[in-house]
C-alpha cells in the first residue's frame, strides 16, 4: 500500500481494484497496532471497521459511486457514534455508548465513509496539547532536529485526529474547533484543517463544549481532501437551531481556479511581535500570493487583542452550563461512595472531571454568578459584537481574505506542556480564537518547516460562508509551499 494516500487516490484505487476497502482498512489497523504508542486512537472496533469496509467493497462492486465510498476515516471522540463508545476523553463519560449518530458523522456515512475508530483529544475539547485527555497524552509523529528524543504534542484539542492523519493511520479525520482546536493541531502536524462558518456543520450529536463557538471541521493531508470532507460534513440540519440553511457548493471544484485580483488583508495586529522565523515564513506566504496575482492590502483590526480574553469568558461560561448534565444521575459515571444527592453530584463530578475541565467550569460559574455577570459575561458579549463589527467594517469591506500565521509557535514538548501555566497554554489560540468569536471560516495550510524541522501553518480567514474563497487560495498556498515533498524531510518516529 502506498503511504499517505489522499481521498481521490483512494477512490481511484478502489474503483480500479488496485486495492479493496478491506485491504485498506487492514493496512490502517495494522499500522495503528504498530504505532499504538502514539496513542492516537482511544476506541477501536476492528470487527465493525472491517465489516464496514467489506460492505463498501460490495457496494463498489455493485457499481455504487459516492464521494467517500470505502474511505477509512478517524472520528474525534467528541462525535456521538451509534453503538460505539463516545467519551470526549473524560472519565465521566467513560462508559457512555450513544444510541444515536451525530449529524456530521451520519453525513459522512451517507457518503460511503467507513470509520476506523475514535481519536484522542483534550478532555471535552478543552486544551491545546491533547494532554488533558483521560486516556493520556497523544504524540506528534515528528521530532525536533535539535531534540530528537523529546516527545512532542500534536496540538489540541483534536490531537488524536491530527496524529492519526499525519501518521498515516487513516485517510482523513474529523475534528472540532472552538478556539482553534482543528487549526492549531493541523499547523503542528503539517496538515490542512478548516473551521467552517459557524452554523455550516450541524452540532447535533457533538458533545458540546461552548455551543456558540463549536464547529466541526476536517483534518486532512491536502486542501482537496479538506474540500471533499467539508462538503460531506456540512449541510443544514433542522435538529440544530443554529444550523445555517445554505447551499453547500462543491468546494473541490474551486481548486485550481485563478485567484488573480483577489485582495488579501494583512493585519498588523497579527504580525506585530512575530518571531523572526514566523515572520520569514509569513513573508514567504505573502510572496506566493503576490506571485499568483493577489493584491495585498494592509488592514488594521484593533479589536484583535481582546478576542482571547473574551473567549476565555464566553467559552467557560457556556461550558459550565453544558457540562452540568454530567451529574452521575443518568449515563455519566457515578461515584461509588455517596450518602446523599449532594455528595453524589460532588463526588461524581470531582472524580469524573480532570483539572482543566474543572478550572473552566469554575471560571464559567464565576463569570456568570450574580454580581460578576455584567463585569465579565456582558462585557465579553459586547467585545464579541465589536470584534464582529471590526471584521465586517475594517476587513471584509476591503478584502476577500485575511492571511495570518496559525500559531505563534510550533509543536512543543509533552513534558514542557505539563509545566506551562494555563494562561501560557491559552496563548496558543491567539491567532485562531478571533474567527470563532466572529463565527468566520478559517483554514490552516502547511507552509513549510521551522529551522528545527517542525511544520508551520499559515491561516486564511474568510467572510461568512466564503469557504470557496478560502479553498481556492489555500490550494495556491499548498502548491507553492510544496509541503508534500517537504514532509519527507521531517524526522518521523
Amino acid at each position: 500500500m502506498k503511504a499517505d494516500l489522499t481521498i481521490s487516490e483512494v477512490r481511484k484505487g478502489l474503483k480500479t481494484r488496485e486495492f479493496s476497502a478491506v485491504e485498506l482498512m487492514q493496512y490502517f489497523l495494522s499500522r495503528i497496532e504498530q504505532y499504538s504508542a502514539l496513542n492516537a486512537y482511544v476506541t477501536l472496533d476492528t470487527e465493525k471497521a472491517l465489516a464496514a469496509a467489506k460492505e463498501a467493497d460490495e457496494r463498489i462492486a455493485a457499481g455504487e459511486d459516492l464521494p467517500l465510498l470505502g474511505v477509512p476515516l478517524a472520528i474525534k471522540d467528541l462525535f456521538c457514534t451509534k453503538g460505539m463508545k463516545t467519551t470526549a476523553c473524560s472519565k465521566i463519560l467513560s462508559e457512555f455508548v450513544p444510541e444515536y449518530e451525530s449529524t456530521v458523522t451520519q453525513n459522512l456515512l451517507d457518503d460511503g465513509a467507513v470509520f476506523i475508530g475514535k481519536t484522542n483529544m483534550d478532555e471535552f475539547a478543552m486544551g491545546s496539547s491533547n494532554i488533558t485527555s483521560c486516556f493520556g497524552a497523544c504524540f506528534l509523529p515528528y521530532r525536533k532536529k535539535s531534540a530528537p528524543d523529546v516527545p512532542l504534542v500534536p496540538g489540541g484539542s483534536s490531537g488524536g485526529s491530527a496524529t492519526a492523519v499525519a501518521s498515516d493511520l487513516c485517510i482523513a479525520a474529523t475534528g472540532s474547533d472552538t478556539g482553534g482546536s482543528v487549526r492549531q493541531p493541523a499547523a503542528f502536524s503539517g496538515l490542512v484543517g478548516i473551521k467552517p462558518t459557524y452554523g455550516l456543520c450541524s452540532r447535533w450529536g457533538m458533545v458540546a463544549f461552548a455551543s456558540s463557538l463549536d464547529q466541526a471541521g476536517p483534518l486532512t493531508k491536502c486542501v482537496e481532501d479538506a474540500a471533499i470532507m467539508l462538503r460531506s460534513m456540512a449541510g443544514y440540519d433542522p435538529k440544530d437551531s443554529t444550523s445555517a440553511n445554505v447551499e453547500i457548493p462543491d468546494y473541490a471544484s474551486f481548486l485550481g481556479q485563478s485567484i488573480k485580483g483577489m485582495k488579501i488583508g494583512i493585519a498588523k495586529e497579527y504580525t506585530d511581535g512575530l518571531n523572526n522565523e514566523n515572520m520569514a515564513m509569513f513573508e514567504r506566504a505573502k510572496s506566493w500570493l503576490v506571485d499568483a496575482g493577489c493584491e495585498l492590502v494592509d488592514i488594521s483590526l484593533k479589536t484583535t487583542p481582546y478576542a482571547l480574553p473574551a473567549y476565555y469568558i464566553i467559552a467557560p461560561a457556556e461550558a459550565s452550563s453544558n457540562l452540568a448534565r454530567y451529574d452521575g444521575v443518568r449515563y455519566s459515571k457515578r461515584a461509588e461512595h455517596y450518602d446523599n444527592i449532594d455528595e453524589l453530584y460532588t463526588n461524581s463530578r470531582s472524580e469524573g472531571f480532570g483539572e482543566e475541565v474543572k478550572r473552566r467550569i469554575l471560571t464559567g460559574t464565576y463569570v456568570l454568578s450574580a454580581g460578576y455577570y455584567d463585569a465579565y459575561y456582558t462585557k465579553a458579549l459586547k467585545i464579541q459584537k465589536m470584534i464582529k463589527d471590526d471584521f465586517r467594517d475594517n476587513a471584509f469591506s476591503k478584502v476577500d481574505l485575511i492571511l495570518t500565521m496559525t500559531s505563534p509557535n510550533t509543536a512543543f514538548g509533552v513534558e514542557e506542556s505539563t509545566q506551562m501555566s494555563p494562561t501560557d497554554m491559552y496563548l496558543n489560540d491567539i491567532f485562531t480564537v478571533n474567527s470563532n468569536i466572529a463565527g468566520l471560516p478559517a483554514i490552516s495550510v502547511p507552509a513549510g518547516l521551522s529551522n528545527d524541522g517542525l511544520p508551520m501553518g499559515v491561516q486564511l480567514i474568510g467572510n461568512h460562508f466564503r469557504e470557496c474563497d478560502i479553498f481556492k487560495v489555500a490550494h495556491v498556498l499548498e502548491v507553492a509551499a510544496n509541503f508534500f515533498d517537504k514532509r519527507q524531510k521531517i524526522i518521523k518516529i
Partner: protein, 484 residues
C-alpha cells in the same frame, strides 16, 4: 384605605405556571399526554444526552402570544431564551430553559370583580415561556429516589402579576379570571388537579404608606381554595411576627393543605444563584407582523367582551351573564339555545334562568358537562318556548324538564304524552274554582272575614284539582273575581 387587616395592608403578587396545551414538548417531539407510564415520553433530548439540541415548538409560542392578547399585553417581536442553572435530579441538563431577560409578553392587565361589584385592574408584568422539570419520587423505596422525566420539557407559561392584590379574595379572583381567559384562548386546560395550573404567591404586609416589607413566597399551590387558605394563614403569621416586634424573613414557604399551614422551605440566604445567561443553542424568537396579525385574527371573543355583549344583546343581568360566560362552552350553549328559540331574543332571560337553575342542577347531579348533557340544545329552547306560548306553566315545565333530562325526549312530545297541556279555557277553570269554593265554605267565610292569607289555599286547591295544569295567572284572576 380599604382592606386593612388589623391595621395592616396586605400586598400580594402571583406567579402562575400554566401548562401550554400542546401535543409535544417545548423543545422536543415527545408527547405531553397526562398519566402515561413513567419515563415513557422521554426523548434523547429530554434526558439531556450529550450533543442533543433543542428545537422550539412554534405552536407553544403561538399559544403564548394568544395568551398575551388575552391579558391585553404587549407582544414582543423579539424574545429570547435563557438558561437557569441549578442541579436537581429531575432536571437532566442541569438548567431550565426560560425567558428571563426578554420575555415574549410584557405589560398586560386583567380586570377582576370585587365583592361589592366594582372592578379592579390587576397588572400583569410578563408572560414568559419555559420548560417544566421532571418529577422526583421519594416514597417508592426506603433506599432510593426515582425520577420520572415525562414532564421534563413540557411547555409552561409563567404569568407574573404586579403586586397589585390587597386581599386573598382579590388573589383568588385574579386566578379565577386568568383561568377563564386561558381556557377561552385555549392555551391551557387549567386543570389544577393535574398541576396544569400552579400558583406561587408572594405576600408581604406593611402599615399603609410604608415601604414594601420582606415577602414570603408560597410555592406550588394547586387550587384556588388552597390559595385563599395559604394567604389567610400567611397574613396572620406575618401580623403576629410584626406585632411581636419580629421581622418577616424573606423566604420560600410551602403550603401544607392538610394542616392549613405554610412552612419554611428555604431562606433567602440559601437561595440559589441561577447564573442566567442566553441559551446559545437557540436563536432569538423573532415574530413577523404577519404571524402576530394571524394570531390576533384567530382570537376568540374574550370573557369581558362576551359579558358586555350578553348584557346588551340579550338583556340578561350582570350576575347571570357572569355565570353563563364562566366557560366558553356554557356561553355557546346559551347562545345556541336562544338562537333556536321562536321567541328570541325575548326568551333569552328565561333560557338563562333555566340553564342556571335547572340545567346546572342536573349536570351537577349527574356529573355531566354541558357538552355531554342527554338532550339536544334545541329542546332547551323548545321547553322555554312552550312556557312562553303558554302551552305549559313554569311549574309543569319543571316536570317536563325532569322527564326530558331523564329520557332525552322532546318537551312537546312529553307534554303531549303526559297530557300536560296547560288548561287555559276560562270556562273550565271557572268551573273548577266554583267547585273548590263550594267544597270549602268555612275557609271562604274566614277569607271574607279578613284572613287574606287563605288566598294561597284556594290557588293550591284549584291547581290540585287541575293536576297542576291550570294557567296560574288565570286561576289567580278568576279567584279574585269570585272571592271578591
Amino acid at each position: 384605605m380599604d382592606n386593612l387587616v388589623k391595621g395592616w395592608e396586605v400586598i400580594i403578587g402571583l406567579e402562575v405556571h400554566a401548562q401550554i396545551a400542546t401535543k409535544s414538548k417545548l423543545f422536543s417531539s415527545s408527547p405531553t399526554e397526562y398519566g402515561a407510564d413513567p419515563n415513557s415520553q422521554v426523548s434523547f433530548y429530554d434526558a439531556a444526552m450529550p450533543g442533543m439540541l433543542p428545537v422550539l415548538n412554534e405552536n407553544a409560542v403561538d399559544q403564548a402570544i394568544k395568551s398575551g392578547f388575552g391579558i391585553n399585553g404587549t407582544i414582543n417581536k423579539i424574545s429570547r431564551f435563557d438558561r437557569k442553572n441549578y442541579f436537581y435530579p429531575d432536571l437532566p441538563s442541569g438548567y431550565q430553559i426560560s425567558q428571563l431577560y426578554h420575555p415574549i409578553v410584557t405589560d398586560g392587565h386583567i380586570d377582576i370583580e370585587l365583592q361589592d361589584g366594582s372592578v379592579k385592574t390587576i397588572h400583569v408584568e410578563r408572560i414568559h415561556i419555559e420548560q417544566d422539570a421532571g418529577k422526583s419520587i421519594h416514597d417508592l423505596s426506603p433506599e432510593f429516589s426515582y425520577v420520572d422525566l415525562n414532564r421534563a420539557g413540557v411547555p409552561l407559561m409563567e404569568i407574573v402579576s404586579k403586586p397589585d392584590m390587597r386581599s386573598p379574595f382579590e388573589a383568588m379572583q385574579y386566578v379565577r379570571k386568568l383561568r377563564m381567559i386561558l381556557r377561552y384562548v385555549g392555551s391551557c386546560d387549567c386543570n389544577m388537579e393535574r398541576g396544569n395550573l400552579r400558583v406561587d404567591a408572594n405576600i408581604s404586609i406593611r402599615k399603609p404608606g410604608e415601604l414594601l416589607g420582606n415577602r414570603a413566597e408560597i410555592k406550588n399551590i394547586n387550587s384556588i381554595r388552597f390559595l385563599g387558605q395559604a394567604l389567610d394563614y400567611e397574613i396572620e403569621r406575618q401580623i403576629m411576627l410584626k406585632e411581636n416586634g419580629e421581622e418577616v424573613c424573606q423566604e420560600t414557604r410551602l403550603f401544607d393543605s392538610s394542616l392549613g399551614e405554610t412552612r419554611s422551605m428555604r431562606s433567602k440566604e440559601d437561595a440559589a444563584d441561577y447564573r442566567y445567561f442566553p441559551d446559545p443553542d437557540l436563536k432569538p424568537v423573532v415574530l413577523s407582523d404577519e404571524r402576530i396579525a394571524r394570531l390576533r385574527a384567530e382570537m376568540p371573543e374574550l370573557p369581558d367582551e362576551k359579558h358586555a355583549r350578553f348584557v346588551a344583546e340579550y338583556g340578561i343581568s350582570d350576575a347571570d351573564a357572569n355565570v353563563l360566560i364562566e366557560d366558553k362552552e356554557t356561553a355557546a350553549y346559551f347562545e345556541r339555545a336562544v338562537a333556536a328559540s321562536k321567541f328570541k331574543p325575548a326568551s333569552a332571560k328565561l333560557i338563562a334562568n333555566w340553564m342556571i337553575s335547572e340545567l346546572f342542577a342536573v349536570l351537577n347531579k349527574e356529573g355531566k358537562t354541558i357538552e355531554t348533557v342527554g338532550f339536544p340544545i334545541e329542546y332547551m329552547a323548545e321547553l322555554v318556548d312552550l312556557i312562553l306560548d303558554k302551552t305549559i306553566s313554569g311549574k309543569i315545565a319543571k316536570t317536563v324538564f325532569a322527564e326530558m333530562a331523564q329520557s332525552g325526549s322532546a318537551p312537546a312530545k312529553i307534554v303531549k304524552d303526559l297530557g300536560l297541556v296547560q288548561i287555559q279555557d276560562e270556562g273550565a277553570i271557572r268551573k273548577v274554582i266554583d267547585e273548590v269554593i263550594a267544597a270549602n265554605p268555612a275557609q271562604v267565610a274566614q277569607y271574607k272575614a279578613g284572613k287574606v292569607q287563605l288566598f294561597g289555599f284556594f290557588v293550591g286547591q284549584s291547581m290540585k284539582a287541575m293536576q297542576g295544569k291550570g294557567n296560574p295567572e288565570m286561576i289567580n284572576k278568576i279567584l279574585r273575581e269570585t272571592l271578591g
